[in-house]
Amino acid sequence: MTNEKLARGADRPALIVGVLLLALAGIVYYDASKQTITSNYGLGPTAMPYVACIGLVLLGLAHLFVAFRDGLPRPEAADKSALLWIIGGLIGLIACIAAGGGFVVAITILFACTARGFGRRALLADVAIGFVLGLVIFLVFAKLLTLLLPAGPLEHLFI
């Protein structure tokens, strides 16, 4: 395994976290340095970002240090297909809302994909459950709580 080879010298997850923290610190620093409004007295809006930046740099360096010592706890292997189904469902949900497909369809996608990710094989039944669940929630929010969730063509039939 290539992973093993790399892991011999340093713990890869810890290295990655360390580098990401340093990168985040860089972004915070860049953003703070570009700020135009300053305060006349006391601390300005840039002070706290610099504090956060220093903290992130220290933590990033500590992670790099830890990478060559104990490293992070080793997790067990993950069930990739389960994760992909659920992530797919979440992306489908966002895409559906962004495209104006409405709440009910979005919830149907999310429910069916998540149930599939957790190992259910009855996709059609889950689609039906998700649809009914989404519709009930939409109507409860619209009628009882007078709060309008994102509406698409389907929802407009009910309001």
Binding site: L24, I37, L56, G89, F111, G119, L149
Partner: protein, 499 residues
């Protein structure tokens, strides 16, 4: 005396039929969601926050109190029957509780947990009612520097002292503080870390972060290791009720658990883990039947469960009097207050006494409702535990989405929910605590505001933080708490090398 009058006033608010109704709904919903495996009180409150969105502040805060206590109770049911504690505070309960359930004594275990929670909740809520006004008197004299120092103490204790690794805890905290920077700076109007995205100008919603980290992250994490630890519900056999012997063995642990839970919960260091484990080990030492420990000793359920509930009421002391959340649940409760433009603290006691005391009174009522409702309804809760896992988590994600969309119906908000969810998954996978991040997001901007206020008053002289005795002491404490784990770790390593 004044407190008694205020409390009676509170009861007159909380006993209105409509308020009783909100309390009942809260208790019911809180228990129902809290019972679901993997969902602790923090997540319960975060998921149900949007439901209270359109109610009037008093009604929804009262419902909130019900949700909070209901969620705690539901969590202990899961811990006992499923050996799946939804949060670290129920770990101790799960130790003995699940053993009792396996031995066919699930009924008495649930009963001692319920009645213990009731006793502890009652005493601790009295403690809250009488301690709060006194603390408000003290807090009124606090300057911004003192608040800033208090927040630093909370930062350090939440992230460095608890959890396995101070490094990972602090990383989580700083991620939260960085997220707290996003949005328009309230003092100057400067936009920070928004990258031109208009949705980010209002900052990151606490509920979005909490629901993402807790609900979505948990769902992804459970899915990723689905085949490894199948959970099994232990059916309740035998009587639901406690025998005379059970009562005799339970009452003292209840009281001792309360004595651990309330004061520790009320400290700004806070947390429910420490008192529950203190109570567990104390009961183990004091128990007349030490051989039963590890096999299902009722003391091991009664004590920690009482400690857990008492510390929950304890965390409300700094939350209500200082506006200082010391646990993830309290942080989300604070977000609930802010949703109505209410800022907990000494001023709230002066300006909205009806609201504060109504809330405290409804805590008593929620407690009574829980003990009356839950023992007869235990059959219903057990059925909820039997919901198949795919539907359960699909339902949780639906709920999470619903809550996010109800607060802010935009794809950007959903995208953030998803990103936080994935981050929560990765953090769980590599054993980073997620609670410090939520606390960082909510306390970060508050600490910044107090620090800037303090330095404006002192005309930019940072020594003001060390010249005031209270803030200097608190900062000293924070420093010790920050350094102690590293020093102790060094000592441990030294000891290990000696062996």
């Amino acid at each position: 005396m004044e407190t008694t009058v205020a409390l009676l006033n509170g009861f007159s608010v909380a006993l209105e039929p409509s308020k009783l109704m909100f309390c009942l709904i809260g208790v019911f919903l809180g228990t129902a969601v809290g019972v679901l495996p993997g969902i602790g009180p923090a997540l319960t409150v975060a998921l149900l926050l949007p439901v209270t969105f359109k109610l009037d502040p008093a009604g929804s805060l009262i419902m909130f109190a019900g949700i909070y206590y209901g969620g705690m109770y539901g969590g202990s049911t899961t811990a006992i029957l499923l050996n799946a504690p939804g949060e670290s505070a129920s770990l101790a309960t799960a130790l003995e509780g699940s053993k009792m359930a396996k031995a066919g004594r699930g009924g008495p275990a649930l009963a001692t947990a319920a009645i213990g929670s009731f006793v502890a909740g009652l005493i601790a809520t009295f403690g809250l009612a009488f301690l709060a006004p006194w603390l408000v008197e003290v807090a009124i004299k606090f300057g911004p520097w003192d608040y800033f120092a208090l927040m630093i103490v909370a930062f350090v204790t939440v992230s460095a002292t608890f959890g396995d690794s101070p490094l990972r805890g602090l990383t989580s905290l700083f991620l939260g503080i960085t997220l707290g920077l996003v949005g328009i700076d309230k003092l100057t109007g400067q936009a920070r870390l928004t990258f031109g995205v208009p949705e980010l100008l209002n900052g990151v919603e606490v509920t979005t972060l909490a629901v993402g980290l807790f609900a979505v992250g948990e769902a992804l994490y459970v899915a990723s290791k689905r085949f490894r630890d199948p959970e099994e519900i232990i059916p309740i056999k035998g009587s639901l009720w406690m025998s005379k012997e059970d009562w005799k063995r339970s009452w003292a642990p209840w009281l001792r658990g309360t004595a651990f839970g309330f004061p520790i919960g009320a400290l700004p260091a806070g947390g429910a883990e420490v008192p529950t484990f203190l109570s567990y080990s104390t009961e183990r030492k004091l128990c007349k039947y030490p051989e039963e420990f590890g096999k299902g000793a009722i003391e091991g359920v009664a004590g920690p469960e009482a400690a857990n509930n008492a510390s929950a009421a304890g965390t409300l002391v700094p939350l209500l009097t200082l506006g200082l959340p010391t646990s993830a649940t309290a942080a989300i409760m604070l977000a609930g207050f802010q949703q109505y433009g209410l800022n907990p603290g000494p001023l709230l006691f002066a300006e909205k006494p009806d609201l504060v005391w109504g809330l405290i009174a409804s805590l008593f009522i929620a407690n009574v409702m829980l003990v009356i409702l839950n023992l007869p309804l235990i059959g219903l809760w057990v059925k909820l535990l039997a919901v198949p896992q795919p539907w359960l988590y699909a339902g949780i994600l639906v709920f999470a989405t619903m809550g996010t969309l109800a607060v802010n119906p935009s794809p950007v908000e959903l995208g953030m929910l998803f990103l936080f969810g994935y981050l929560g998954y990765l953090m769980r996978r590599y054993d980073y605590p997620v609670a410090p991040m939520v606390v960082g997001l909510i306390l970060g901007p508050m600490a910044e505001a107090q620090l800037r206020r303090a330095l404006q008053i002192s005309l930019g002289d940072p020594m003001i933080l060390l010249e005031n005795p209270i803030s200097a002491t608190l900062l000293g404490l924070a420093f010790v708490a920050l350094v102690a784990p590293f020093v102790m770790k060094g000592l441990n390593r030294f000891k290990a090398a000696e062996d």
